[in-house]
Point group: C2
DNA sequence: TGGGTCATGTAACCTGTTACATGATTAG
DNA sequence: CTAATCATGTAACAGGTTACATGACCCA
């Protein structure tokens, strides 16, 4: 996944690993976490596969850099990956923990859901910042059709956050209902 | 995550690896995928940590089995994990692909969102089956407080699916809007 | 003089994926 | 007779996490 994400970014234009990292932080990181070290490792993998090539550029006053470009076979691989519509493996750590929270007492659980509803999980920097970053890059990419899909992922994040809040409220209501039943015994 | 999920299941009562696997398929697998082989590997890890113990039971007519039990330190570890409310790493493969779908043409993308909206992603066996499994195990666990959290995860799945459908419809509308603009040129 | 930016990684470890392996009993 | 159920794994590889490493420039 990450490998193809990086390939997708390089498809917008040539970049250094450092630039990939900074764009990644403002875009893909909203739905995929990765450390800098992993990005550099994946870049080596992409080069080994022949999907990207690199050009060493000496600089004075700042570190030398490696400019990376997608190759023809890299573009082909990106398209192949995009066309593959199989379902993806689910992985929601939040639910894994929720599932077993019956071990903890109701007050702790209510506090948990309250804090979850309050803290934005998808855009820690806020929706506006995410949208601003998307607009900034849309101008660079210069293709409104491509930028639209960036926006779609931001829309998803917003809708997800709203849904999460509703779910939290519902869980809190049901937990409070249980508490009442108990005190009525 | 998986390690602690297995620990949580063993906290309901003693089980064999095989039983963990079957319960897993009807519960945790809705938000976490894992192969049988990984479950057995994690079980070895749990035993190495001293969080579970095993008892070999010889059987005639069917394979011998290993009955697993959570230990005191295992229960402690489970609680420690549950109390740790740090945010989790996000990982939404669906959005990774969506982000770059601008490479494909609008018709393909509309078809993609249509199929996504139609096919239930969280409960491939249907909501009713998931709920039935939860009820069945609730009777076994015999603790309505714990069963409530199982239900919460199913509620989440339902709300997520509805949200996903709305998102798909919205994306389709915007893509169609773009097509109109083009044909009006 | 201290922190942020630019710029690159290595190493060890842990977790997830894919493929393979075995074999008896029981229900249709 | 054949498929499902019970019951256990190993091996190799791919991908993600954590910790560590270097160093010059520029701005406050």
């Amino acid at each position: 996944m990450l490998k193809h994400g990086i390939l997708g970014l390089l498809n917008y234009g040539d970049m250094t690993g450092y630039e990939i990292m900074t764009i990644f932080r403002e875009s893909l990181s909203h739905f995929w976490t990765a450390q800098t070290s992993q990005i550099y490792r994946e870049l080596q993998g992409l080069e080994n596969e022949g999907w990207i090539t690199s050009k060493h550029v000496a600089q004075t006053g700042r570190p030398d850099k490696k400019i990376l470009s997608i190759t023809g076979s890299g573009k082909q691989e990106l398209d192949r990956w995009l066309e593959d519509d199989r379902q993806f493996n689910v992985r929601l750590p939040l639910l894994m923990k929720t599932f077993f929270r019956g071990e903890l007492d109701a007050d702790k659980n209510i506090a948990f859901f309250r804090s979850l509803a309050k803290n934005p999980s998808v855009f820690p920097g806020g929706y506006a910042a995410a949208q601003a970053a998307a607009d900034r890059y849309a101008a660079i990419i210069g293709d409104s059709g491509k930028a639209l899909f960036w926006k779609f992922t931001i829309d998803f994040g917003l809708m997800y956050e709203k849904m999460l809040q509703q779910w939290c409220e519902r869980c809190i209501r049901e937990l409070k209902g249980m508490q009442h039943e108990h005190s009525a015994d």
